[in-house]
């Protein structure tokens, strides 16, 4: 289990690093090609936007794992340790609710509709449905990390944290 989670973390981080590199190269090439080639690259604008969607959504799961999303914890800090534990669990359940309905269910439906109707992006000719797969994938990761957070909340020894 621990190895599997470690693998998912590594895979996620690796994807994000490559995606950032991809955006950078695409836009730099967009500028260079305008001057070097008679015919400037016409796909880079779309390519960089699509990778940005991936970085933005998928990265949010990584940021959630790192606990770096912005929140408002002034009130929760005033609660007793036991109530805090319960409150934080409820928060994780709400995150699971959102991820399940919007990212997984809504995202999956969006992928299905755009794939079924064979919607093609304007300059890359990529299926829009493939771009949108980032939504359900991120949904699964959010649920996974939420479950890990709940597990970590309720086990006594921090050494066993996942």
């Amino acid at each position: 289990m621990r190895t599997l989670i470690r693998f998912v973390d590594k895979l996620l981080a690796g994807t994000l690093i490559l995606a950032m590199l991809g955006i950078l190269l695409a836009v730099v090439w967009q500028v260079i090609s305008r001057y070097l080639l008679k015919d400037p690259a016409s796909v880079t604008e779309e390519l960089s936007r699509f990778i940005l969607i991936w970085v933005g959504i998928l990265g949010a799961a990584y940021a959630y794992r790192q606990k770096s999303h912005l929140g408002f914890n002034l009130l929760v800090q005033k609660l007793s340790p036991k109530s805090q534990q319960i409150m934080l669990t409820i928060v994780e359940l709400l995150v699971i609710l959102f991820s399940t309905f919007v990212l997984m269910l809504g995202g999956k439906e969006l992928v299905v509709i755009t794939l079924e109707l064979d919607q093609i992006s304007a300059s890359l000719g990529v299926k829009m449905g493939l771009i949108y797969t980032v939504l359900p994938i991120t949904g699964v990761l959010f649920v996974l990390y939420s479950i890990i957070n709940i597990y970590n909340l309720w086990i006594a020894d921090s050494k066993e944290s996942l």
Binding site: K38, S42, E45, E46, I113, Q119, S121, A122, G125
Partner: protein
């Protein structure tokens, strides 16, 4: 409630003739249905971009939207016919085709994509405007960076005429023209005027290479939920709105051209034949494709 409200989103501002025609559509719908059907309009991209609103129609959370036929190419390939230059001889020919079986078939063709095409609005003809030097012949376009719509056919069209097609998003275009990231763009007179691009691109060359109509779409999910009576009211209101918009468009084109001329823009009427000749190889390269076959049918009309 006692009446049905249809929600219509679009990307234009409220000055645009298409917005005014949609208001007329709402009035006529109210009139024909005796207040049982109403239209609520959301202008200015409040609900999303054109492509995104088409998706919302397919999803079923928005009832209607207006879309240019050009980005519709991504959904319905037959629509690419409008992005090919000089398919239509003139405005009369253009409307003859749209009002014929070809126009109807193009609209019914998109029903496979969960969309119901209600009708065409006039969006005139697109012509080049440039910031450094005027365009008199296709030769003047060689080496210029021209902003194009994000559509493969639009890119091929501009390339066929000798320019370097450069996709720039609509929001960045004013600054891109001003700073010389692109040397020019192309659009119809009202858009050239309303977008204020005439302030920096001072040469407008009316070569009228493409005529891309606007299409009013209804979600097929919404359409199928309407009774036959309600569908009939909507269709009648739409045809009133289309007639009204074509009048407004003519007027708006004339006024826009007059206003840019008054502002000192150099409007050029080039010899169109030279441009038609320049795209002949492009037309020939399409010969064996479905678009090429459709093009031959249209040219024969």
């Amino acid at each position: 409630s006692d009446h049905l409200v249809l929600r219509l989103g679009h990307t234009l501002d409220t000055q645009h003739s298409v917005h005014k025609a949609m208001e007329r559509l709402g009035d006529r719908l109210d009139y024909y249905s005796r207040g049982q059907m109403k239209l609520e309009i959301f202008p200015g991209s409040q609900l999303g971009t054109e492509r995104e609103m088409v998706e919302l129609l397919q999803i079923g959370s928005l009832d209607m939207t207006k879309v240019s036929a050009s980005p519709l190419e991504g959904f319905a390939p037959a629509m690419k016919i409008f992005s090919i230059p000089y398919v239509f001889r003139d405005n009369t020919h253009f409307w003859k085709v749209l009002n014929s079986d070809i126009g109807t078939e193009l609209l019914t063709g998109i029903e496979a994509f969960r969309l119901k095409g209600l009708g065409y609005y006039d969006a005139g003809s697109r012509s080049f405007y440039t910031n450094e030097k005027p365009i008199h012949t296709p030769k003047d376009l060689v080496g210029l960076k021209i902003r194009v719509l994000n559509s493969p056919t639009a890119v091929q069209t501009v390339r066929a005429m000798g320019a370097a097609a450069t996709p720039v998003s609509w929001g960045e275009l004013y600054t891109a023209l001003q700073q010389g990231v692109v040397d020019g763009a192309e659009n119809n007179p009202p858009s050239y005027f309303l977008s204020k691009h005439y302030e920096i691109a001072r040469y407008y060359s009316l070569d009228e290479h493409t005529s891309v109509p606007d299409i009013l779409l209804c979600s097929l999910r919404t359409w199928n939920q309407l009774t036959e009576q309600q569908q009939d009211w909507l269709a009648k209101a739409m045809s009133d709105s289309v007639i009204y918009q074509r009048e407004l468009w003519q007027q708006s084109t004339k006024e826009s051209l007059q206003k840019v001329i008054d502002d000192g823009v150099e409007v050029i009427y080039p010899d169109k034949q030279a441009f038609v000749d320049a795209v002949t190889p492009f037309h020939e390269s399409l010969a064996d494709t479905p678009a090429g076959k459709l093009m031959r049918k249209i040219k024969a009309m």
